[in-house]
């Protein structure tokens, strides 16, 4: 008879038993060796009553990747990230983070992640150093490393010498840096950031992304949600999320190249309102949308459509100042994909 003299034996056994079910995840991500995948999501679904917040999501995030989750508010970004952090139980499907199933072993997941929630603004009535000490305590940072880690976080957040300021007195960008510092004090291999830069000025936002890239270079996997298109360009790979479903996946360049159904025309004309209306039903126009003080048109072929559209608009007493083909931005891609999706949904209903 063999008794488990060492309690550590038990989790080892449990891990071996769990392995058969993990093999499905490995197969799914067959293109990459399993150890290189930080996050594996299969058919992940979350329903709140009859509302489907996340609808059969499938994706894999590789180690050291900066993975962006892009979509409008209410698209299901936060719900997904909360399921990955073990804060919400999936309705169906599964996900594993750092090799641990988020539904069955959320505590093991939490040991391996840093999470910055959307609402999180630290404890405002605590001093900078007190917030850091709190999270060091929660993450059980060993006493021998404590000074080092807190010193590192202070340097990173540019708060050296400001340890004793109340967090409420910090500007938004510094708070954000401090929040990131708190979330990664324990050097987690994966960090989840839910709209980390909302409400932060552009310079601080830029600095924040520099930090994210520094961490990624050290092998940390970063899973970040945003609804800022320009931020999405900083990501290695992107998933576009719309109404709980993934509508596109790839590098920013791939998305811009491959996801547009047609080419893009920039049209500067006056007045804008009637022009958009008129162009919706113009021949050869797939989509028309206002971008700043001009229009972006999705057309089959830019060179063929340009002269036709100029005449079409002039006939309707709209003066055209400029019309030229342009390269799509992520925003164009996103608008194009979501309008296609909406149109498809409208047709099926």
């Amino acid at each position: 008879m063999r008794l488990p003299a060492n309690p550590r034996v038990i989790p080892m056994e449990r891990r071996t038993m769990a392995e058969p079910s993990h093999s499905a995840a490995v197969n799914f991500a067959a293109a990459n060796p399993p150890a290189a995948n930080s996050v594996v999501i299969e058919n992940l679904t979350k329903r709140f009553g009859s509302f489907v917040a996340v609808d059969r999501l499938n994706l894999t995030v590789r180690k050291g990747e900066v993975f962006g989750f892009l979509g409008p508010n209410g698209a299901g970004k936060s719900t997904t990230i909360r399921m990955l952090c073990g804060l919400l139980t999936p309705s169906s499907g599964r996900a594993s983070v750092a090799g641990h199933d988020v539904a069955r072993d959320p505590e093991a997941v939490r040991q391996n992640i840093g999470y910055m929630s959307q609402k999180f603004s630290l404890y405002n009535d605590l001093k900078v150093i007190e917030n850091l000490r709190l999270f060091a305590g929660l993450y059980s940072v060993p006493a021998t490393e404590l000074q080092d880690r807190i010193g590192w976080a202070l340097t990173m957040a540019n708060l050296k010498g400001r340890e004793n300021l109340l967090t409420s007195t910090l500007p938004g960008g510094w708070k954000q840096h401090l929040a990131l510092g708190c979330a990664v004090l324990h050097r987690p291999p994966i960090i989840f950031l839910d709209e980390p830069t909302s409400g932060v000025d552009p310079i601080s936002r830029r600095q924040f992304w520099d930090l994210i890239h520094q961490m990624a270079q050290q092998g940390v996997t970063v899973f970040v949600t945003t609804h800022y298109m320009e931020e999405a360009e900083y990501c290695n790979r992107l998933a576009l999320i719309f109404r709980g479903q993934m509508v596109a996946l790839g590098t920013p360049a791939e998305l811009k190249r491959g996801s547009m159904k047609g080419e893009l025309l920039l049209v500067e004309c006056r007045p804008l309102g009637p022009a958009v209306e008129a162009l919706q039903s113009a021949p050869g126009v797939i989509d028309a949308a206002v971008f700043g003080d001009a229009l972006h048109l999705v057309v089959g072929s830019a060179s063929i459509a340009a002269p036709t559209i100029r005449t079409y608009l002039t006939d309707r007493q709209i003066s055209v100042h400029r019309i030229e083909p342009i390269r799509p931005t992520l925003e164009d891609v996103f608008v194009s994909l979501t309008t296609t999706r909406s149109a498809e949904e409208a047709r099926t209903q």
Partner: protein, 377 residues
């Protein structure tokens, strides 16, 4: 269970309390204020009630009777009037609680040996006070009446027989019959309800409201560590406030303390666990500061105030209410407090109260622990 993670949460909670002036006021000022309020403000004793008299007779006898009223500590003759409507008006406008009218033939009737009558008009808006008032007035008149009888018998050389039966009272436990001695020990239960349920429900609901709870539960800290970390500071504060209140009760209001301090500490700790668990449970369900704090007051403070026997004796309540009080932990705590302050009942004889208190504290602590999961939904 990691002690260091629990202490990290507890340390943060202490900082929240120290930096929040409203919490500090509740922790420091509220117990003292409640003690002074109930020590001085609430007085169930009736003394020096305003009395109007209309003496139609104006005789030696009627004056003697009125002197008896004046001599009693319960009445204070504020006005002697010469018209009947003046008495009714005084009752109407509240300047008198009672009017005594002595009829014109009072002394004549007494002299002739026929029964004499005195009219008492009572403001019975508050039936309880009115009843007590009538009792006092009857006692005064009765006393005067027997004095006259004895005097008459003596004057006529008759033996004073049978001797009137007198009751020699000796009050125990609350020897001076001070209602404050009855009330003050119970104030401890009120103070702890506010600290334990009201304050904690606010602080935990605040974490949900501000989203910091989401951040907390994304770390490896366990549910029980969060709960103990958040509640321990309030437990310490609650016990400190109990000590302050006991000190004020004994040192300032001279309420006797005859039991053991150990029993006071143990029963207070049990009750503290009860209110902390309730506060925690409610805030986990409500997740909203306003709702949580209101519900917390409703289920702890209000029963402690009305149904615990703090002010109103449970024996005197309708039978249904008496049953309801059995499921109120405050009832057992207030009972223990009154017993150990005034009677000095040995701890072994308090089992009927301490046992239910212990059961409630275990039960509610278990409910609170089970209610809290590291999940958002």
């Amino acid at each position: 269970m990691s002690l260091s993670r629990m202490l990290a949460v507890a340390r943060k909670e202490v900082l929240h309390i120290l930096r929040d002036s409203r919490s500090l006021i509740i922790v420091v000022i509220m117990p003292v204020t409640l003690m002074l309020l109930f020590g001085y403000g609430v007085n169930l004793d009736l003394k020096s009630l305003p009395l109007y008299v209309y003496d139609q007779d104006g005789s030696q006898q009627s004056q003697d009777l009125l002197k008896q009223f004046q001599a009693s500590q319960y009445f204070h003759i504020v006005c002697v009037v010469d018209r009947y409507p003046a008495v009714t008006r005084a009752l109407d406008d509240g300047s008198a609680k009672m009017g005594i009218v002595i009829p014109w033939n009072f002394s004549q009737q007494l002299g002739s040996g026929s029964p004499a009558r005195v009219q008492a008009l009572v403001d019975a808006t508050d039936d309880n006070t009115a009843n007590i008032l009538i009792g006092y007035a009857q006692a005064v008149v009765q006393g005067y009446s027997s004095d006259i009888q004895i005097g008459w018998l003596q004057r006529h050389g008759e033996p004073v027989e049978p001797a009137p039966i007198g009751v020699e009272t000796r009050t125990w436990y609350n020897e001076d019959l001070e209602s404050s001695a009855f009330i003050i020990p119970g104030v401890l239960a009120l103070v702890m309800s506010v600290i334990g349920a009201f304050l904690t429900s606010l602080t935990i609901a605040r974490e949900w409201e501000r989203g910091s709870m989401e951040q907390l539960i994304s770390t490896p800290v366990t549910a029980i560590e969060i709960m103990l970390g958040k509640l321990t500071p309030y437990f310490v504060i609650g016990m400190f406030d109990v000590a302050v209140c006991a000190f004020i009760a004994i040192g300032w209001f001279h309420v006797p303390f005859r039991g053991s301090y150990m029993t006071l500490a143990v029963s207070s700790a049990l009750f503290m666990v009860v209110v902390l668990s309730l506060g925690f449970f409610i805030s986990v369900l409500a997740r909203n500061q306003f709702a949580a704090s209101q519900i917390a007051l409703l289920v702890t403070f209000l029963p402690a105030f009305l149904l615990s026997g703090f002010l109103f004796s449970i024996d005197q309540m309708p039978i249904v209410l008496q049953w309801i009080t059995r499921i109120l932990p405050a009832r057992y705590y207030v009972s223990v407090l009154k017993e150990i302050f005034l009677k000095g009942t040995p701890t072994t004889m308090l089992a009927a109260d301490l046992l239910p208190l212990a059961v409630f504290s275990l039960l509610l602590a278990a409910v609170a622990t089970r209610s809290f999961h590291k999940r958002l939904q």
